[in-house]
């Protein structure tokens, strides 16, 4: 099995330990990753999608063609890339006129968009192609004994019509829960589970409002679950949860810290990866929780 790895800007430059986690976990589960050489930004929402539809879809379509030429599907670990690439594909599918305009632009670089590669998010891909049972059987270590709170992330869920892998009910997602349970953890429910974390455009526009939104969420997690670890399904959520707790503590708006990992990092560690490589850039103290996962 082989799939194209779309890394995305934030994962490449901000959290390359997450990139390493994917690069460890996929081959360990028997899936070869292709580098999709020459990939660019997806492009992200605040750039071309905010300028015009054709330009947005043209840059997106160029990324798609790299995978199409190799006959591969695309997996990404970033929520924004997943959303932008999926939405552009959907738009061109339902609007042949748009697709034709995009292909006119792509002609200038000798490419043609066909729409033959599907866009998948890492853990949904593993859920469907490998399955929780097989993953459980491949683990060297488990999250046994750990209480975990989840952060699925917006772009993994909505708008459901554009995604290849769908939840039965996107307002009550269960794939991430099943996957984390496959790693052996106990998952606690909290009322603000599907609330937005405040990362992204909101944080760039108004840090204070973004942090207030995040605070509501982290307090709900602390009060209702009080977990050993938070596991996210989205790379942007990972960055918010990993950095915003420190900011709130400095402002004396919270007085605790909960370690945070992306699902792929937790999986890679359970598959025997070096924690320094796959989670070495975490700002929250993940060492103690990793100490509980690995035998001393």
């Amino acid at each position: 099995m082989k799939v194209g790895f779309f890394i995305g800007c934030n994962t490449s430059f901000n959290r390359p330990d997450l990139e390493q986690a994917v690069r460890h976990a996929f081959p360990a589960l028997g899936i070869e990753l292709d580098d999709l050489e020459g990939q660019s930004c997806c492009p992200t929402w605040g750039t071309l999608p905010s300028v015009d539809v054709v330009g947005w879809c043209a840059v997106s379509a160029r990324n798609h063609t790299i995978a199409e030429q190799k006959g591969l599907d695309i997996v990404t670990v970033c929520g924004s890339c997943y959303g932008s690439l999926s939405e552009a594909k959907y738009k061109m599918e339902v609007d042949p006129e748009l697709k034709a305009k995009v292909n006119e632009v792509l002609q200038t670089i000798g490419r043609e968009y066909k729409g033959t590669s599907n866009v998948r998010l890492t853990y949904y891909y593993l859920y469907h192609e490998i399955g929780p049972e097989k993953i459980r059987a491949s683990l060297k270590y488990t999250l046994g004994g750990l209480k975990v709170a989840l952060q699925p992330g917006c772009h993994t869920l909505w708008p459901s019509k554009v995604y290849y892998d769908k939840e039965e009910d996107p307002f009550h997602p269960r794939v991430l829960k099943e996957m984390v349970e496959a790693l052996g953890a106990t998952v606690g429910h909290y009322t603000r589970l599907i609330d937005c974390c405040g990362m992204g455009a909101m944080r760039s526009t108004d840090m204070e409002k973004s942090l207030n939104l995040f605070r509501r969420k982290i307090l709900s997690i602390k009060e209702e679950v009080d977990p050993d670890l938070i596991i996210t399904g989205c790379s942007s959520c990972l960055i918010q949860f990993d950095t915003a707790q420190e900011m709130l503590r400095r402002e004396k708006k919270i007085n605790f810290e909960i370690p945070v990992l992306h699902f792929m990092q937790a999986l890679a560690i359970c598959l025997g990866a070096d924690p320094e490589k796959v989670a070495g850039l975490a700002r929250t103290n993940v060492k103690s929780v990793i100490g509980k996962i690995l035998p001393s």
Partner: protein, 190 residues
């Protein structure tokens, strides 16, 4: 003339700009007129929870009233998370997120865009990445990865392709960022 007067927000309807509706429809907000202002989208929107004055339903309402300046003077539309909760719940398939995007497209055509958006576009043109951190090579090396990902950064001909695309789309006509000269790559975090 100001369309929203004083601090109490009285709307002067006759000062509204009726051309805004068509502009939005042309820039991707085709379903604008399907909206029945039911506010289901607002109930799901993180911007409401965070306290931004303009969110999906109110942006649509303001567009229908032609309140161009009120929308351009406020930064709310740039705080939209692109989360599409609104698209999911709208009973009229308005695609409220697309309307917010269309309003951003209007704003860009009036050069009313945040600095960060300009920097993101410039970075995209210069490096192929909207988010680019100059010190990232070290960070990557620290976790055992090559300093450059296998992207436009490692393949100059790929970057050239991205630039050619940008030069052949509306971005070039709008003149929001300089094009054609070799770019200086600085950090940019969108």
């Amino acid at each position: 003339m100001s369309q929203v007067q004083g601090g109490i927000g009285i709307i002067n309807l006759s000062a509204g700009d009726p051309s805004l509706v068509n502009e939005i429809k042309e820039l991707g907000g085709e379903e604008l007129l399907e909206c029945i202002q039911c506010a289901k989208c607002a109930a799901a929107c993180p911007m409401v929870l965070a306290g931004f004055p303009f969110f999906n339903k109110r942006v649509i309402q303001a567009i229908l009233l032609g309140l161009r300046d009120a929308l351009l003077d406020d930064s709310s539309i740039w705080a939209c998370q692109s989360c599409n909760r609104c698209t999911e719940v709208c009973p009229r398939e308005v695609n409220p997120f697309e309307i917010i995007q269309a309003m951003r497209r209007v704003a860009i055509r009036e050069f009313a865009l945040p600095t960060l958006a300009i920097e993101g576009l410039k970075s995209l043109y210069d490096t192929g990445h909207a988010v680019y951190l100059a010190g990232a090579g070290n960070t990557r090396a620290k976790v055992g990865l090559p300093e450059k990902p296998p992207s436009t950064l490692s393949y100059p001909e790929a970057l050239k392709e991205v630039r050619t695309i940008l030069e052949n789309t509306e971005l070039a006509e709008l003149g929001v960022i300089p094009m054609g000269e070799s770019g200086v790559t600085d950090s940019c975090e969108v």
